[in-house]
Symmetry: C2
Subunit: 237 residues, 2 copies
């Protein structure tokens, strides 16, 4: 937690913030070893960042006096990530990685090789997803919460959403064996599509290319989804 992320409802009108949830209190105590007087980096969700002084820390609450918060959040990556839904534990870690890296638009997509049971996982509850996004923001010192969309049908996504997305983004499908290597250091808006463990099936790749996406590879190694997504984002931007 390199940033104490405050919800707007944590703030009062007098420039104080109060938090009372056990997770942030434990972190302040055990990791930051904060005591009254400690100055810490804080940010307001979807707002600005700056310093605050801890003025009270009890088992029940922490109270901060905020400086004027004038720092802006670091820039977002110009990418919309479309990720075949990974298994729940991998999803949790991947959401934290990509949020820390600055992704703001995430679509979780059903594809042939996604196990249907993954869509029933409690990790997909909005409050669970939000927890992982917040961990990513706290890690990277960012305040802008990503937007996560669940897209449970491959064909409706391809037919109804993808054409619109491709009007504003260059579509890149990461898939082993494609002739083009993943481009480096680009600044265009990218729609980045990443398949599940085992990859997209050939029919899915064909459909994606038909609609106007470009295929690309990341070398001969087979990477876990969380490794591949981080590597793709680091190489693209």
């Amino acid at each position: 937690m390199n940033l104490i992320l405050l919800h707007p409802s944590d703030l009062d009108q007098q420039g104080y913030a109060r938090i009372s949830d056990p997770r942030r209190l434990a972190h302040l105590r055990d990791i930051h070893r904060a005591t009254p007087g400690s100055r810490l980096t804080v940010g307001v969700q979807d707002g600005s960042m700056g310093k605050a002084q801890l003025i009270e820390l009890t088992r029940e609450q922490a109270v901060f006096a905020l400086d004027s918060l004038t720092d802006v959040a670091p820039p977002a990556l110009p990418v919309h990530l479309v990720l075949a839904l990974p298994r729940p534990r991998m999803l949790a870690r991947t959401l934290e990685h990509v949020t820390a890296l600055g992704v703001k638009e995430i679509t979780l997509l059903h594809t042939k090789r996604v196990e249907k049971s993954y869509w029933q996982s409690p990790e997909l509850l909005p409050e669970k997803i939000q927890q992982h996004l917040i961990l990513g923001l706290e890690q990277a010192r960012d305040t802008q919460l990503p937007n996560v969309i669940l897209s449970k049908g491959f064909r409706p996504f391809i037919e109804e959403q993808l054409p619109d997305l491709l009007r504003e983004h260059r579509g890149l499908v990461a898939h082993p064996g494609m002739p083009m290597a993943c481009p480096r250091g680009i600044s265009e808006k990218i729609l980045l599509l990443v398949g599940p463990e085992g990859g997209f099936i050939p029919w899915e790749v064909e459909k994606l290319l038909e609609v106007g996406c470009e295929g690309m590879h990341l070398g001969p190694r087979i990477l876990r989804v969380e490794t591949a997504v981080t590597a793709l984002l680091a190489r693209l931007f």
Copy 2:
């Protein structure tokens, strides 16, 4: 496990391989759902790769008939990774990520902000380290086991080992706030130094630069070690 990694002692002279450890047997059964007749990708540790046919699978052992194994392992990254020892769980995952990405030389280094207790972790036992390296190789379809060195003193490393390493490598220290951005797509041999959570202390950075390393940054975001290392490797090579 995209590759069944065989130890040379698993092989006999007649072109058969036998494995009997519960981990690989369970994986064959539950993940691959392999049955006699299944053809699977295999590789011999530090050797070549190819296909094998499963001819027997019981609770006690699996027996394979090997094709002539003529595929070579994918190329290694031209990097020696010097990583401040992360906390044990992060170490485990980071070893798997970097092995999958093709790192073959890894030094785990003590620095000021590494908690001393981490050096007592059972995760540092050679057999535990090897387990994570093997998981990384099996994931990426590689056979070449990385070499892991433990370097428990920062000053001896700087004074006794670093000068020799820098004769053959370009030294790059990842550190926030350095003026140079992490280079992209290079082919030189790199010595990549990555600090602990919280970073190198200023004195350590100064020493590393004095000996001839270059500082570089990866942008304004603070990343977890495992995310940062993957991002650095993907961007450098």
